[in-house]
C-alpha cells in the first residue's frame, strides 16, 4: 500500500552522502535498505527515505583470518545460500535463515536492514551466539563492536549506517543448533533459541545459550551456560540448564504469548537445542 506520507526519496551515490542526510538525527528521515519493513510499517513521522541499497557492500567472503565477512547489503537469501556459511558452526546460519519469512522476503531483505531493525528476529540470537561483530559508519570513520553491544543501544543512538557483519573464525570442534516456535512457518518467532558449544561434550571450552523474541531482542542465559561449562553436556546437565534458563531469561507477554508460556518455551527449547548440539559434537 502506498505510503502517502513519504514525499521524498533520495538516492545517495556514496556512503558519506547517505550519512550526511541522516546526520542531523531528524526523525522524518529514514534509511532504506531492503525496505520490507518500511513499505508497510513506515512510522507516521517519516517523510524522506534515503535508499542505501546501492551504496552498501553486499559481498560475502571468508578472509585470510578465517572470519566470514558479510556486506550489510547482502540479502538474507544470499547469506542463506553462501557456501562460506554452509559448514560454519555446523551450518547453523542457513539452518536458521530458512525460517526467516519466505523466499519472497529473503530475496530482497538485507542483513544490515534486518539487524538495524533488531526486534522479533531469528537472525539476532544466532549471530550473538556466534560472537558476531558489526561495523558502523559515521562521518568518514567506522567503529567495530559486537552485535550484542550494538543492540544494547549504547553505540547505536547517534546516526550511523551499519556496513558489515563479521563472523569470527571458530576453532574446531564446535557445534551449534537453532530452534524456534512460531504460529506459522513464516511468521515472526514467539520464542527462539541458539546454543553453541566449543570443545567436546566432556570438555566444554565455551558455551553460548541465547534466547530471542522473548519479546526482547535477545538474552544470554549466563547461569545456564555456567552449568554446562562446569558439568559438560549430558542429559542431566542439559535438563538442569534448561530449567535454569527458563527461570533466568526475562520474558514478556504480548498478544501471541504470555510471559509464562514463553518461560516454559525457554526451558524446552534450550534443552532441545543443547541435545542437538551434543549430538553434533564429535564423540
Amino acid at each position: 500500500m502506498s505510503q502517502s506520507g513519504i514525499t521524498e526519496y533520495l538516492r545517495p551515490a556514496t556512503l558519506h552522502e547517505a550519512w550526511a542526510y541522516i546526520s542531523g538525527g531528524d526523525p522524518k528521515v529514514k534509511l532504506l535498505s531492503g525496505g520490507a519493513d518500511l513499505t508497510i510499517n513506515a512510522p507516521p513521522e517519516v517523510t524522506t527515505l534515503v535508499d542505501i541499497g546501492r551504496v552498501l557492500d553486499r559481498a560475502i567472503h571468508t578472509g585470510t583470518d578465517g572470519a566470514v565477512h558479510i556486506g550489510a547489503g547482502a540479502t538474507l537469501a544470499e547469506v542463506l545460500e553462501h557456501p562460506s556459511l554452509a559448514g560454519y558452526a555446523s551450518g547453523v546460519v542457513p539452518e536458521m535463515m530458512v525460517h526467516v519469512g519466505s523466499p519472497l522476503l529473503r530475496n530482497f531483505s538485507t542483513i544490515g536492514g534486518h539487524l538495524a531493525r533488531g526486534r522479533l528476529s531469528d537472525v539476532v540470537p544466532v549471530l550473538i551466539a556466534l560472537d558476531a561483530q558489526v561495523t558502523a559508519y559515521r562521518n568518514r570513520s567506522t567503529i567495530e563492536l559486537s552485535l550484542a553491544e550494538y543492540l544494547a543501544g549504547r553505540h547505536n543512538e547517534r546516526p550511523h549506517i551499519l556496513t558489515f557483519v563479521r563472523l569470527p573464525a571458530l576453532d574446531d570442534p564446535v557445534a551449534a543448533a537453532y530452534l524456534r516456535i512460531a504460529r506459522t512457518s513464516f511468521d515472526f518467532p514467539i520464542l527462539n533459541c541458539c546454543c553453541r558449544v566449543d570443545g567436546s561434550a566432556d570438555a566444554v571450552a565455551g558455551v553460548h545459550i541465547v534466547c530471542g523474541a522473548t519479546p526482547r531482542v535477545a538474552e544470554r542465559a549466563n547461569q545456564a551456560e555456567a552449568i554446562i561449562r562446569e558439568h559438560g553436556l549430558n542429559p542431566s546437565s542439559i535438563a538442569e540448564a534448561g530449567r535454569v534458563a527458563g527461570e533466568e531469561v526475562p520474558t514478556g507477554s504480548g498478544w501471541v504469548a504470555s510471559a509464562d508460556y514463553r518461560s516454559h518455551l525457554v526451558e524446552v527449547l534450550v534443552g532441545r537445542c543443547l541435545t542437538t548440539v551434543m549430538e553434533r559434537l564429535p564423540i
Binding site: 500500500m1 502517502s4 538516492r11 532504506l32 518500511l38 537469501a77 530482497f108
Partner: protein, 159 residues
C-alpha cells in the same frame, strides 16, 4: 519522481510517487497479472522477478526497481507466445483452480528452478511457502513444478 526499469523486456519510464510500491505502479501501467492480494507481504500473490529473484512487489518501493529488470507472468513465456513449461505443467497437473495465486507461484518456481534444477518436493514446498493458495492444497502445484523441472532438465523446451 521518475522510475526507469525494464519490464518483460521493455524499457519503461514511469512517474511514481516516492511512497508508491512496485505492485501499485505495475498494475497502474497494465501489468495486471501481478495480483494485489494482501498488500502486506503475507500472501505472495504479487510476486514478480526482480533481476531474476522472486520478490513480493508489495514490499518494494517502486523507486527500488529503478534500473532493474522486472519479469511478470506476461513476460515469462516464449517470444512467440508459447507457454513457459511451468505454465503448461500447472495446467496439465491440475494446479490451477481460481488461478489468483498462480502467476506469482509460477514466477517463484521459475526462480527456484533457475538455481536448483532438480529440487526435492520438500525444497519446492519450502520455496513456495510464501505463496498462499486457498483452493488446491499445493500437492498438484508441487507436482507441476516437478514436471516442469524434468522438462527443463531434458531441454525439451527453452525455459
Amino acid at each position: 519522481m521518475r522510475v526507469e526499469l525494464t519490464v518483460d523486456g521493455r524499457l519503461e519510464t514511469w512517474q511514481a510517487k516516492p511512497g508508491d510500491t512496485l505492485l501499485e505502479v505495475l498494475r497502474a501501467h497494465g501489468y495486471t497479472g501481478v495480483k494485489d492480494g494482501c498488500a502486506n507481504g503475507d500472501c505472495g500473490a504479487c510476486a514478480v522477478l526482480v533481476d531474476g529473484r522472486a520478490v513480493a512487489s508489495c514490499l518494494l518501493f517502486a523507486a527500488q526497481a529503478d534500473g532493474r529488470e522486472v519479469t511478470t507472468i506476461e513476460g515469462i513465456g516464449g517470444a512467440d507466445g508459447a507457454y513457459h513449461p511451468l505454465q503448461q505443467t500447472m495446467l496439465d497437473a491440475g494446479g490451477v483452480q481460481c488461478g489468483f495465486c498462480i502467476p506469482a507461484m509460477i514466477l517463484t518456481a521459475a526462480d527456484l528452478l533457475t538455481r536448483n534444477p532438480e529440487p526435492t518436493r520438500a525444497e519446492i514446498g519450502e520455496y513456495l511457502s510464501g505463496n498462499l493458495c486457498r483452493c488446491t492444497g499445493y500437492v498438484k502445484q508441487i507436482d507441476a513444478v516437478e514436471m516442469a523441472a524434468a522438462i527443463l532438465r531434458e531441454g525439451r523446451v527453452d525455459g
